[in-house]
Amino acid sequence: QTVHKVRYEEVVRSVLYVPMYAGLKKGIFKDEGIELTMKTSQGTDKGMAALLSGSADIVLIGPEASIYVANSESPVKPVVFAGLTATDGFLLMGRKPDPAFDWNKLKGSKIMSFRPGSNPDIFLEAALRKKGLDPKKDVKLVNNIGPAARTGAWLAGQNDYATFLEPEASTLEKEGKAFPLGSVGKEAGMVDYTVFTTTDTYLKKNRAAVQAWTQAVAKAQKYTAAAPAAELADLVGEYFTGVSKPELTSAIERYQTLNLWKKTPLVEKEAMDKLQDMLVQGGVLEASKKVDYARFVDMSLVQK
């Protein structure tokens, strides 16, 4: 069996990517002949940059970056070849628990989101729209706070609502600082949130490696779907320095119930069309610049 050496970068370290860590720990990638080095690039933009500049072979980032780049002058084009998360994993959280929460209650409030044009922000806007709220008028989206500073800003008493990923969501809930009210992903619909992406040139030269990768992802997804949360927490604990087992377990449970993790790596055309609509509505993509599914997604390996 040939060994594929792959330089891999994930967008952030998050419970959202537990299937990947599980695959690594279970030796699934190794079994497929993949030897990888992993880095955390701290942002989709940086992950994409790593890809385009050739310092990474495969990255796990939001698919929207590939759409932007498909429209650009870049001679190298990114290719989405497998999906990992079914939709956005952010939870909408408020300062008080509210069993009778209704998204209409958000009207007139300040919600802490992410930078304009970023995936989490686009998804939140889509969810709001679905619920009949105009993200520009009915609510005030705060999107000028850097990722590392968001939790602090929340704790410092800024904003009425905010979106959080696991494991912060569980931690904050446990501390009584924030309470989950809804799931952004659930409202926005099943639109792939983070996908494995490579470049056309890498794919051409290293098809076997990408194939092996896709198969490993599929296996890892299958394993994750069946495994109990506690087992997964034990398995991937070492990727989350400082997060306790119970916290991790509850976070994994939450994502399991939300069906966040895809069962197969397939990224569907409808999902990508929906994403592009969201981008257009969000004002970060011109309608005329929508990109053909085939121009940035290649599902041929998944189908094998």
Binding site: S72, E73, N144, I145
Partner: protein, 280 residues
């Protein structure tokens, strides 16, 4: 009265109308050299821009990652026309000046305190060394938490520049010739008078040196702060531009930032020259 003046200025050189042909020739040569230098500078810049443009256009380097001059220039003009650029630049500049002013005032005060009490200086010394050596940038993620979005930009600016200001100014106080202090003491000066008449006015060059470092560091602090949280400013332009892969905006902002920092630096350098002349 028979003292020999050492200053050459007072003995004027020959009047200009008495220029010898050799001198005229020498002046012309100096002039040529000056022109050559200016030409070379323009040349270096032109070559740099041309290489950048060509490499990006021929896709030897990915234009998506670097943009290119002919894309950056229109962006600059556009941003400037809409007034956006002026606004962002002004915001960054204002924050820099505020951070700078705060850390200068604090820095000089603390340095004065340390000078006043040698004991306090001794006690605080290891903490100052650590605070000064510490990469303040490490606090970026938690600074925001502590200071909130409004003040974290200033906070970063002050954090980055305060300790070095204290050190430079204190060293300036220390570097005052002890004989000048001795002189004031023999005239009966109290410690307060020594400070007022000798140490403070004598450390103006040190304060200028601190200003020189400080203003650059404050700008760095502001940019870092703006990266973290902001809705305007050059740092905001850069981080937002890179988020949506608008490298022409990033480059435009960087060009403006380079100009802003160079202008501030040159202003302080000019101030420094003026003071140095006075304190020669």
């Amino acid at each position: 009265m028979s003292t020999v003046m050492n200053t050459t200025n007072t003995q004027a050189a020959s009047p200009p109308d008495a220029r010898s042909p050799e001198y005229v020739q020498w002046l012309a040569q100096i002039q040529r050299r000056k022109l050559l230098i200016t030409a070379s500078r323009i040349g270096v810049l032109a070559v740099f821009l041309a290489v950048w443009e060509v490499l990006a256009r021929t896709q030897v380097i990915n234009p998506m990652l670097t943009s290119y001059p002919s894309a950056v220039l229109p962006t600059l003009v556009d941003l400037f026309k809409t007034g956006d650029l002026t606004g962002h630049t002004w915001i960054t500049f204002k924050a820099t000046i505020i951070g700078f002013a705060v850390s200068m005032v604090l820095g000089v005060l603390i340095a004065a305190l340390l000078w006043w009490s040698g004991f306090l200086k001794k006690v605080l010394d290891p903490f100052l060394v650590i605070a000064n050596a510490m990469p303040k940038i490490a606090f970026v993620p938690i600074f925001y938490i502590w200071l909130g979005s409004e003040y974290s930009v200033y906070g970063m600016a002050v954090a980055i520049s305060l300790f070095i200001t204290i050190m430079v100014v204190y060293e300036g106080f220390q570097a005052i010739d002890p004989n000048k202090i001795k002189l004031a003491t023999t005239l009966g000066a109290s410690k307060m008078q020594v400070m007022r008449y000798v140490v403070f006015p004598g450390s103006v060059p040190a304060v200028i040196a601190a200003i020189k470092m400080n203003i650059g560091l404050s700008l760095i602090g502001v940019i870092v702060g703006e990266f973290q949280s902001s809705s305007a400013g050059l740092g905001f332009l850069i981080v937002n531009g890179s988020q949506v892969f608008k490298l022409n905006i990033v480059m435009a902002a960087i060009v403006v930032l380079a100009m802003l920092s160079a202008v501030m630096y040159l202003a302080v350098t000019r101030l420094e020259k003026a003071v140095q002349h006075r304190y020669a």
